[in-house]
Amino acid sequence: MNFKDQFNKAPVAKVNTEITNELSPEITLKIEKSKTLISEVGAKAEAITNDPYKNSEKDEKIKLNWKKIKNWSLIAIGAIAAGTAFSTIDDKGALTNAMELATHLPAGILSLGLMLKGVADIILQSEKENKQKNTQESSFA
């Protein structure tokens, strides 16, 4: 059995195929909703931030919510990217997906650089793992 056959039979490949190739409509819908919500939240937060009559209480609320959004977004985007990275790494589709998702997040709300770094790290890690598996496979052949 070659590497590709082994990879395709692994449970992990099944999960990733569901995300990427079959792209479950339910998951796609939820991702789309996330993107819309992040944009809406971003617009509201920006409006409050730019409000000349804002007070310290409002500022505190923004800071608190910003922290929540940032934490969740990093987890979600990282996880989604990790899911897509594994099976689409060959055609760089994962990176495109991750970038596409990232561009929907308002830069003022999220630390885009940090997020992209996280995504890139995950993709690179997947690539490294793939290479290691390939090397192991060829040494057994």
């Binding site: 998951i27 979600a76 990282g78």
Partner: protein
Amino acid sequence: MLVIAEKIKNKTATKEEIADFLEEYNKTLEEIKKDLETE
């Protein structure tokens, strides 16, 4: 949710778990949006 996030990263999450994860994520965003709307 962190447990599911970890599973997604480790590529052991099921499709249902990923959907649940995104559902929770969106709920949090809805809450934040509502919170900001009260201003």
